[in-house]
Point group: C3
Chain length 483, copies 3
């Protein structure tokens, strides 16, 4: 009798995965070998929606429920499930990293330009965002380039001087450009010893990397795998805050830290296991009960009756009106995702001068800011009263003003140190007192703003990485200058 129940369970829940008939010959060929060489990849893909659905089937859903944004897809791809070869074998002529692999021409790197075949709306939205331009926004901005080099370069001692060498591509790849992305370039080909013997493959620079602004061998910008992990490419990952936390984390971008300590985070961690992270559209109150990162910044949200609360966007700047991190002062969101193209009154590619004069031509105007804020408020109001929401953003505005003020005070102290020749200002990031100044805006003021924006983490804003250290560092700098 017990045996019977076990048998029934096996029949009904554990029927071994049977491939849909419409798997392509190319993909089947890939799997035949890679299933034993890289079982993790193949099994992960098998758990994906890609492995179970052909584009033509995906298009049969109501538009609002679709995960595919193109209205149609090339005929040769429409009827097969989305397997290895469908993605790695696409657009090989455009890919500098394409190569012959057991008689199939494939690319090592799948680029947003490839994903675009089915997900063009997402790729187009993403392509104008600061995320897509994350590499150039560091490397083509001499100010940030100097900050990067000063921070991550090897240092040696000559006498009592610190000599700074050039940062290695290895260290660049695992620090700043781990999040921002690398330029993946093809240096030639090389032979590797694989489990199946010697195989010739492209020799790639800047690889592996999954930074958000990765520049791919076909010129495409971005790595969809930053948030939709290979090879399940799941919605679930992207909607959970763990994904964002890989980069948006203390001390410089403490979004995840603040979320964790906020009421919203508290509800997610206590109850999130019973929520549905795989539903499109994502229904407030039914599928989830408190925001995760993407609720506010990206997801397609409706109420129970199907009324639109927020349209999906993959331009993660699109719903943001004020930029609170990474720069000296808070400022309106830049118009262009390529922020290195800005120019402030001092001729530097920054949204403000060191003393907080805004480069207004490059920043969104008041109307655009208000329209974005109204969109965000609509999401908030799903669970909060109008008054609650308005008071929240009034407070947030004031916090940006106050933290900008104390950073300006700090900058004035630093200016005194420069004027008194206590340190030289050739490199504003390398002397001890300058690094304290950087911490004021990059760590502490940012942290307070995040706590304010995300309505939580009062202790974080006070003692952990906020007002306490803002004040203490000011006192330290005052002492340093007095000496």
């Amino acid at each position: 009798m017990r045996m019977l129940s076990i048998i029934l369970v096996i029949i009904f829940s554990a029927i071994p995965f049977v491939f849909a008939q419409n798997i392509s010959e190319g993909t089947q060929f890939c799997i035949d070998c890679h299933n034993s060489i890289n079982p993790g990849i193949v099994q992960d893909w098998m758990s994906s929606r890609h492995a179970k659905t052909s584009p033509i089937e995906a298009l049969k859903r109501e538009k609002v429920e679709r995960r595919i944004s193109n209205e149609d897809v090339p005929a040769n791809l429409a009827n097969t499930i989305v397997g290895c070869y469908e993605c790695h074998g696409l657009n090989t002529d455009n890919h500098k990293d394409s190569f012959d692999h057991f008689d199939y021409k494939i690319n090592v790197v799948v680029s947003p330009n490839d994903c675009k075949t089915c997900h063009s709306v997402e790729v187009d939205q993403y392509s104008v965002s600061t995320k897509a331009h994350a590499v150039g926004n560091l490397t083509q901005n001499p100010v940030f380039d100097l900050l990067v080099e000063t921070t991550i370069s090897p240092k040696t001692i000559e006498g009592e001087k610190i000599i700074q060498a050039k940062a290695s591509h290895f260290t660049r790849r695992e620090t700043c450009f781990g999040c921002h992305g690398t330029v993946v370039d093809v240096k030639g080909t090389k032979t590797i010893d694989s489990d199946l013997g010697k195989v010739e493959v492209p020799d790639l620079a800047g690889w592996p990397n999954q930074g958000v602004g990765r520049i791919n061998p076909d010129g495409g910008m971005g790595a969809c795998t930053s948030c939709h992990s290979r090879h399940a490419f799941s919605l679930i990952d992207a909607r959970k805050p763990y994904t964002c936390s890989q980069c948006h984390i203390e001390p410089d971008v403490p979004a995840y830290n603040v979320y964790k300590e906020s009421k919203h985070g508290n509800i997610f961690f206590a109850h999130g296991n019973s929520w549905n992270f795989d539903q499109v559209p994502w229904v407030i109150g039914k599928d989830f009960k408190a925001p995760t990162c993407t609720v506010c910044h990206s997801s397609l949200i409706t109420d129970l009756e199907g009324n639109m609360v927020a349209e999906r966007t993959h331009n993660f700047d699109a719903r943001i009106w004020v930029r609170i991190f990474g720069l000296i002062y808070s400022h309106p969101q830049p118009k262009d995702g390529a922020t290195h193209t800005m120019k402030n009154a001092d001729g530097l590619p920054l949204p403000t001068t060191f003393t907080n004069a805004q480069a207004a031509d490059f920043l969104i105007n008041k109307e655009e800011a208000q329209s974005r804020q109204a969109q965000m408020e609509k999401i908030c109001k799903s669970c909060h009263s109008t008054d609650w929401v308005e008071k929240h953003f009034e407070k947030f505005d004031n916090t940006n003003k106050e933290t900008d003020g104390i950073v300006l005070s700090t900058t004035r102290l630093l200016q005194k140190a420069w004027d008194k020749k206590i340190v030289d200002n050739k490199n504003p990031f390398d002397e001890e007192i300058e690094m304290k100044w950087v911490q004021q805006w990059l760590f502490y003021a940012n942290s307070i703003r995040y706590s304010s924006a995300m309505t939580g983490a009062p202790d974080y804003a006070t003692f952990k990485n906020g007002w306490w250290y803002l004040t203490k560092t000011l006192q330290e700098m005052k002492k340093d200058i007095k000496k």
Copy 2:
């Protein structure tokens, strides 16, 4: 028969929620609009026990299983489920924030005095705790008031002097008083643009806020929503450590950080998903296998046979005998939750002097301390031998003594700095060396004591925020004074 009921549960649990017939007219009227304006609120409430149970039904349970602590409730509330109007429409005469809203008189803020209608035991317990007095314990204590102002006030530079302005109510609300609570006061009325057109509502100061000591417009102290999130008001939230972690977190109150790194936390994070957080009474070994915060500090705990291990309390001080955080030295728990009423030998409202003479009259005596410790030990012994438990608390006692000792050494160094006029002692919290002294007790000594109390986090107590920095800061201060 049991089988039949299981089948029925399966059938009926999948049917979409149908309102119980006994919903009040007022609540139905609220829902009719707010379900589309604030679907998140309504859906969250619909998932609550309040939405499914009338007080009269709640009272049918065995006393030990009840979530309602009053023996009876007003007749007009007894037979309806606990909806919007039952709480927001209560005691409107006592509420300065009551207003007419589409012909119903309601309050914006629900206060513990309202919750008391069904949960009076909890409210009475809470009302004498330090939590309930958390606002006055900062604002009416000039020492803490100075620490607050020094920390979170805007600072500007004049010459080389740092000028401290008055902290804004915005910043107060999102830092110290984000946890401690605000005074919610009514400034008048105002008209807001809601989705249903212009609506007149009370204009509230200090709102929104969910700090534990919030002073509500009806004079009630506390916000039950601090721990039982709106609008599900669930046991589950409150019993999981994420809720407590909103405020009890590094660096000054690192209860959650220590828990995470402790064996107890390890077991919770590895297995907690399969525990039952919704059971009353909460059964050791059956419902849960390792303590979360409330197991030791608040929950009603029994063993499998129903023997009482710990009575429920909402006075979170009631099981605590020694206070290990927030003050310069560890000390017996204050007798009165309003700690600002204490007076030490120097006339300051602190449990000890700066050199650790205790204000014994205001602190519980040895007998009371022993009785509380015995109660806590009873909980420990559910899973640990008598010897294990005794040795644990012997160690804890010693740790309090040792950390008090090293803080006293630091205070003596600071006294030297004052004596030598290196800094002035008018404000003991604003100069760099004084802030180092504060970190010694507020961050490092506290952290070590938490690690000891919660029997875990050895690395936290050593290198993260404990002995390493205690020692290093002492060395730094010695150097500062020598100069």
Copy 3:
């Protein structure tokens, strides 16, 4: 039909636990009392595999699926489930902590030597690891002993001097030796007041403690409960990263912090709840989709077809070729788990000198390192291409070189401070500038290496506890020396 299977499952899974008939008389006697005195312990054990399986049944499984590693067990233990008395009543002649307890002779502490009765392969592997020798590796190494004492000792002030007392056994137990383990010794016997009246028990020093290198009253080294929590002794705990995080955590060994911010961690936290942590062997792609700590360092891993990816080991050094934490420089893994037996060119028991000359005789050679790396790469290749994996480890090698370089620069600055008599080098750990030097290697360089090794946490390696502070500390030390 589906309904039927659900019903059948309900019937068969919900039958309350009935003791197997083959419970020993001793264990039954223990439970009769302790079930009401310590219900948590008994319930936890009842949920264990030990409570449901006798060794003889465990041996019926295929070898690769077994949790028991001995081929046979003593006849008197073979047919009973593994209860209280089976473990606490073992080898009492070897145990200094054995005592008569209601006519049964039992030991307080269960030691690896007892577990060895069924799990000898694991105990033998463990016994040669650095973990097993974790106590002596601190106490018998005068360099580390000095670091420990300097850090955790009570300090008092005499004049302006800091006087260091001897660290108490209490503080030792809850700091360094909380992870490393204590020496559990028997001081005599004592009478305790238990719930059942006065009971005479051994009076133990160094107890309670669950550090990995605990030296037990029978001489056995280690505490299996460090990772397999009492009294369920589950695989599940040990395979989840929360267990390891008790000790392998920021700032000095930030394995868990880096994991959390890595792509691997992201996948675990987003999806781990649906994985099977209780399967042996542990199948890549089926039971789990991304590594937890033990996947790389300990577990028995196969692919879906049963091909071996990694053999189980309880010598946690066995798969590691380079040691990246706890010492001044990275270096090949020591040959012997008892690292205090090494001797460098300066005669100190360290793997390198202060200026990074390796004590090569005591470290594994290149061939052994390559063989271990090849083993680790095999695990990586389950989900990553050969090229991806090779490039990863090429980067890791470079990072070790670069961080060693910047630590050497720091050491040279410290040498200048010693040469100039700014501080004396009698104790290299106690002055402020020396503590900065320690942080360079113990906190910051280590953190960068972990981020590199575990392919994640770019922000951690940059701003949190990596390059930023490496650089800042170097600048601070330069300034300190100039004065």
